[in-house]
Symmetry: C2
Subunit: 248 residues, 2 copies
């Protein structure tokens, strides 16, 4: 009797946007029909962040505090009540209380992937269907705390976990190799960076897709020349198809 519950289900989640279904554009679940829950707030400030509207506190008045039930109700409305993959992204969704949402959603057949830089570990990572650890390379201006990244892995326990590293240049590539060396047992996804991320208030801003494609081809050459055949190289498909438009 008594004891402290692991998850306070009535804790509010700060939500920047909920949208979909559309396809996942990146990483291990590329092409999978998905509803996205983008939470507001981040402990990082990456130079090339493509979701500043969910990061910068300047935009916090656009974030709404939702209960887990309210989030699942919105997901359910968007999906017509048919279970599908839900992607929890941000910002850094790990700083939000998402354990209750995952529990509620699982009971209805929804699955949950979470993408985080790996700077905050949560007990409920173990309840996810997929944990995407996306530590940030030198071009982001951030420093990786390898201990915290390991904590995230440990928290995930048996949950499928993959690595995704955004690569802009040689220094980023060397960083990705270092990540893979430290976590050689995890699948590694490499993704060419977008040097034309959208300004937070203009989703019609032009993307230099040719430049990104050029970086993607370079990355493929780099990986194959190194015989790094365990790495997987994938673009941001949604940017290729929809540019910086939001909600797709």
């Amino acid at each position: 009797m008594g004891g402290i519950p692991a998850v306070k289900v009535d804790e509010k989640i700060r939500v920047s946007e909920i949208f979909g279904p559309t396809i996942q554009g990146e990483g291990a679940l590329i092409g999978v029909p998905t509803v996205f829950v983008r939470t507001g707030g981040c402990d990082y400030r990456c130079r090339w962040c493509d979701s500043l509207h969910a990061v910068d506190s300047e935009y916090r008045e656009s974030w709404k505090a939702f209960t887990s039930q309210e989030v699942i109700d919105e997901i359910s409305r968007l999906s017509g009540g048919v279970p599908l993959m839900v992607s929890l992204s941000g910002g850094n969704p790990a700083i939000q209380p998402l354990g209750g949402l995952i529990e509620l959603g699982h009971a209805k057949g929804y699955r949950f992937a979470l993408e985080t830089q790996g700077s905050v570990a949560r007990r409920w990572f173990a309840d996810l269907d997929l944990l995407v650890l996306s530590p940030k390379p030198p071009s982001s201006g951030m420093e990786t705390d390898w201990g915290l990244l390991q904590d995230c892995r440990n928290a995930a326990q048996g949950t499928d976990t993959i690595l995704k590293v955004v690569v802009f240049d040689e220094a980023d590539y060397a960083y990705a190799r270092e990540v893979a060396k430290r976590h050689h047992d995890l699948p590694m996804y490499l993704q060419p960076g977008n040097h034309t991320p959208p300004p937070p208030d203009d989703d019609k801003a032009v993307v230099d897709q040719n430049g990104i494609d050029e970086r993607m081809r370079w990355l493929v050459d780099r990986v194959t020349a190194d015989k790094w055949f365990e790495a997987r190289v994938l673009p941001q498909l949604h940017v290729m198809l929809w540019g910086n438009k939001r909600g797709v």
Copy 2:
């Protein structure tokens, strides 16, 4: 003593081209560094075939007869002897004697995926690491023999098997749904068709990527509107990145 060997290892394989490593551009292994072995000859004549140089007998003088050992030697040369994924495609690679190649490659650590329309079943499908069954929709002008497709599944036994259907229009989409209904236990990948496939002798021919992207967006809308959330929608990434250029 005696008995007929299941695989005659000295049988020759008709090869159109061997190239790579590059990344797999389609389906379940999208983004995976891969060497491609494209065999020559096909029992189908799809209207929109993008590999006519490996299909039409007009080009057969460009195909070479290789032993399994010669093929594995070439793969090994291209990959610097480092094992990776090998994609067996065509034409229809199922009409070639590939059992010996798979056996030789496995002994060196290579893995093998094979892509076929599912019109010819082989005992050695069971030795693959992935079988991609890509039955052809109405726009191809071909008719699916559902019994033969089932025979291919049966031959694969425990081997991972997925479905991939190219979709040009509503009729193709309805066909994909029919395939999924008949094989609801297999993962389904949908791929927008390329209405500007390369002429066999001109790999600089222009691709209407905008038109293909438009079809891709339509397909995503179609799938999500139908709440067909088990389907996965992926483009031909290599066409997006390299157009109709060969060898990438």
